[in-house]
């Protein structure tokens, strides 16, 4: 408990949100799994989407967030 309490200000200061923090923790836990559970869990952490910001009613160039290697 004390370790997490101590960690909080640091990741907050690094500009991370709680979601980012918990995601990293979750990835760590998943990487500790043994096969065949590991690959099963890995299939559940695929990220793929494309984000586009808008400014003055115009769409800017979309960026694709993906972790699948192509």
């Amino acid at each position: 408990m004390s370790a997490t309490t101590a960690a909080v200000p640091f990741w907050r200061a690094a500009g991370m949100t709680y979601i980012g923090y918990s995601n990293i923790c979750a990835a760590l836990v998943r990487s500790c799994l043994k096969e065949p559970f590991k690959s099963e869990a890995a299939s559940r952490e695929k990220v793929h989407f494309s984000v586009a910001k808008w400014a003055d009613g115009k769409q800017e160039k979309p960026t694709v967030r993906t972790d699948s290697d192509e």
Binding site: M1, S2, T4, T5, V8, R12, G15, T17, Y18, I19, G20, S22, N23, A26, A27, R44, E45, K46, V47, H48, F49, S50, V51, A52, K53, W54, D56, G57, K58, Q59, P62, V64, R65, S68
Partner: protein, 327 residues
């Protein structure tokens, strides 16, 4: 009605080489009624049924496609439905703890509209867009700001038309892989980092059954607003009765909570919407295959009737010719 259209089509596209002997009388009679560009080829006596045959083939193919789409949607639906129902357990504790505050009045509203990337799924995308627009109207006013974050291609297309100035972000290609929490969490992280908000309003179609979807609004307050609300009492005020472990302050806890709540609500919303999309597609495809079937029946009837009519006429001609020779 159908007959008239059929005749017109037939006349326009009738192939002249199929008719061996030109009959000037028939052509002359026709030309007096029909305008020149639509004139029948020389010697055309009956309507060609080829057009109808082609049309019937097309309709049959469309019916096959819609049936296949229905099957695909139905098989996908089952998996997504289980995941959706499981994901409801993620946001329910939050609502129990923090309550839902759809009526909260804040300055910066961000409307997160969840729609699908693909069409052919009935009116679910229009419903979310309509609700978003209504909410936008409701929350915008003097000194107030209300912006959109749109998930999905279809919602983007609809919102660009009239409120592209208020769109802040659009996210597409979300459903390339099956939706998982990691993906939505990364997305929620991106949204939180890029927009300023006092209240996030997530709009999605909540899956009730295969034929019923309810447009739903989930409200997530920013930590500051949440703290104000909790001081004001109500459901949020109960938060003080919880013991907080560790050295974190209430503000920190609230910030963590609201961020996590957003990702959970977004995850559930995306799943609910995906589920509704598949359900809607299923029923839309079902009714379109039924319509194709009806159309096919009508066309078949017309086709057979026309064929029968031409056969009858030919018979009459032969018989009367023969009897004229005898007499």
């Amino acid at each position: 009605m159908a007959m008239a259209a059929l005749r017109r089509e037939g006349r326009r596209l009738l192939l002249s080489p199929t008719v061996p002997i030109p009959s000037p009388a028939a052509a002359a009679a026709r030309s007096s009624v029909v305008s020149p560009p639509e004139m029948a080829p020389l010697g055309a006596r009956f309507v060609s049924t080829q057009i109808v045959r082609n049309r019937m083939k097309t309709v049959k193919n469309i019916q096959k496609i819609t049936k296949a789409m229905k099957m695909v949607a139905a098989s996908k639906l089952r998996a997504v439905q289980t995941r959706t129902e499981n994901s409801r357990g993620l946001w329910q504790p939050f609502t129990a703890l923090l309550g839902d505050a759809p009526s909260v009045d804040v300055k910066k509203n961000v409307i997160v509209t969840i729609t699908s990337d693909k069409g052919l799924c009935g009116g679910i995308n229009s419903t979310s867009v309509k609700v978003s627009r209504a909410l936008h109207k409701l929350t915008s006013g003097p000194e107030k700001e209300s912006t959109y974050v749109v998930l999905g291609e279809k919602g983007k297309v609809q919102l660009v038309r009239d409120s592209k100035k208020s769109i802040e972000m659009t996210i597409t290609e979300l459903q390339k892989n099956p939706i998982n929490y990691t993906q939505i969490a990364v997305l929620a992280d991106d949204i939180l980092k890029n927009v300023e908000y006092d209240a996030l309003r997530v709009i999605f179609n909540k899956f009730q059954s295969v034929i019923s979807f309810k447009p739903t609004v989930a409200t997530i307050l920013s930590p500051e607003v949440a703290e104000k609300e909790s001081e004001a009492g109500g459901k949020m005020g109960d938060l003080d009765s919880y013991e907080i472990e560790g050295g974190e302050t209430k503000a920190e806890i609230l910030q963590n909570l609201s961020e996590f709540q957003f990702s959970c609500v977004l995850y559930n919303g995306a799943l609910e919407n995906a589920c509704s999309e598949l359900g809607a597609r299923m029923s839309a495809m079902d009714s379109s295959s039924r319509n194709a079937g009806d159309m096919l029946d009508r066309l078949t009837l017309t086709y057979n009737r026309t064929r029968q009519a031409s056969i009858t006429t030919e018979l009459i001609e032969i018989i009367s010719g023969a009897s004229a020779l005898e007499g």
